[in-house]
Symmetry: C2
Subunit: 313 residues, 2 copies
């Protein structure tokens, strides 16, 4: 029986309700929403009924408890979340600009989740789980990078697998040590889930076909290129499969890629054909964008099945 682990940031997200540029004057906001890319991912995995856990840290404040309560309610094993008495829970303020891009103010590195260590319950979970999902956003602090690399070693030594979503934002790519950490993770990756141009992060190639070939030659078993509402393409040594996205009314795209990845990894680990994994992953991403809040659009299997029926699939 597989159990999926992730390690990284748990945050609250505060969303500006009006579009505009940044946070240099008071604006109308809504929050706190439970958030953090690995937290959104693992919440969606738990909602699908898959055994799963997260290793992270939060403060002993309303923001921390909001997150732990949500993850527990959605069937995520929260025993690896340390509640740090004098710590603060991470946060992200998000404002959409007129052009659809996003302005952020982050508090991650100096929050409780900046000091994750693979000790205690966290170490036990690394022994217990059979698959690790790594988010590029989680490579923000040396202790977290060390914990992720140690968990990869433990899980791989037992024959387990690793999936990797670079999930990069420009603010993050230039953080100290980030590029080295990304390279260490890709070298151990079985299932690679880049969005668009992230496909070229670790290759010399300039077109999709060559980039995929290069990646698969390094030992990666499968590559899934996410293209948002357009859909996604799956590649392995023998197959290339494209699955179109679904047309839905977009309310808030944040978290959609994390939900897509959660569904794909869950189906893939459970032996589904790539066609089926892609179909459910696209459905999961589509449902995610229809709700405001990063984790609010996560789906159960029943909700995905109903959605697919409604889309006449």
């Amino acid at each position: 029986m597989s159990k999926i682990l992730t390690i990284g940031e748990i945050l609250v997200e505060i969303i500006a309700t009006e579009r505009g540029n940044g946070f240099r004057a008071p604006v109308s906001l809504i929050g706190p929403f439970p958030s953090g890319a690995p937290a959104i991912f693992i919440d969606q995995v738990g909602k699908l009924g898959q055994d799963c856990a997260i290793i992270s840290r939060v403060g002993d404040d309303d923001f921390g408890h909001l997150n732990v309560d949500r993850l527990r309610a959605d069937n995520v094993d929260v025993s690896g979340i340390d509640i740090v008495p004098q710590g603060t829970t991470g946060s992200a303020f998000v404002r959409y600009r007129e052009d659809g891009s996003r302005a952020f103010v982050f508090n991650i590195r100096h929050s409780a989740c900046g000091t994750i260590e693979l000790t205690g319950n966290a170490a036990r979970l690394a022994e217990e789980c059979t698959h690790l999902h790594v988010m590029g956003t989680s490579l923000y602090a040396p202790s977290v990078v060390d914990s992720i690399l140690a968990a990869i070693r433990i899980i791989k030594s037992k024959g387990g697998t690793v999936s990797f979503d670079p999930n990069l934002r420009p603010e993050i790519l230039n953080a100290p040590g980030m590029r080295e950490a990304l390279k260490a993770v890709i070298a151990q990756t079985d299932l690679f889930l880049p969005s668009g141009a992230e496909l070229y992060l670790f290759t010399e190639a300039t077109d999709e076909k060559d980039a995929v070939k290069e990646l698969l030659a390094t030992g990666i078993k499968a590559v899934v290129v996410k293209q948002g509402s357009v859909g996604a393409t799956y590649f392995d040594q023998t197959r290339t499969l494209t699955s179109p996205g679904f047309a839905v009314e977009e309310v808030d795209p944040t978290g959609a890629g994390d939900c897509f990845g959660a569904a794909f990894v869950t189906f893939w680990l459970n032996g589904a054909e790539p066609e089926q994994a892609l179909l459910y992953a696209n459905a999961c991403g589509a449902r995610a964008v229809t709700k405001a809040g990063p984790m609010e659009g996560a789906s159960t299997r029943a909700e995905l099945d109903a959605f697919l029926v409604s889309q006449k699939v």
Copy 2:
């Protein structure tokens, strides 16, 4: 020519627009507002045209720049604010409960202002200023306490003075080292500005008269007991003066005590009679509560004069 210095937290404040208990579900919010008790105090001092400065740290993010821009615009010397490249600016989420009390989620100790040091421009300002105002809320981290105690020694050695507003909230009183730091500051205080029951923090007495007598016997020159909308009472070795508050429509009481203190200290340092200092301080506190946002209700001298005319004083 006097110059007033303060040392401590600069924050953004995010305010829930609906009353209720805490932040365990998404609510409607407004912010960021520039905030932090010493920042509100010194902003009001600057608005009154008094030479003044603050020593603090913020992150290199919109929240930090929002604060620095506001303080600079209101004539505060901001050369002692370090902008920490990888730091985050402190924050406070505030929600009013149905009974009027407040629920907070703070990020102070692990934010940029948790690492204030009396070096560089900060050390220069401590040499240059003639008065230090200490907020009890600013005794939240060892480095800040050390900086405040060092600044007290420098300013006192040149014949300068110290004012002290305990400004305590239950969340803060039990922070590690807080009680010891409070005692070290009160021992060097010239002008003490407690709110209500804070008068009894450092005394054995159980009634106001005895508590004031005890405090004045330790070398404190004057005590001003703040009672919010009811007004305030001034005590020194020879006088007791009570000044009633002003009836105004309260929108947001946060910051009113800080503005009151700023006006009192400014008038007191400039040789005003205590009657006049109390009158302007009460006017300043009254105007502060009529605006949403901790620093938004700060007043210029002209605005206070116009307010006093409108109140037929």
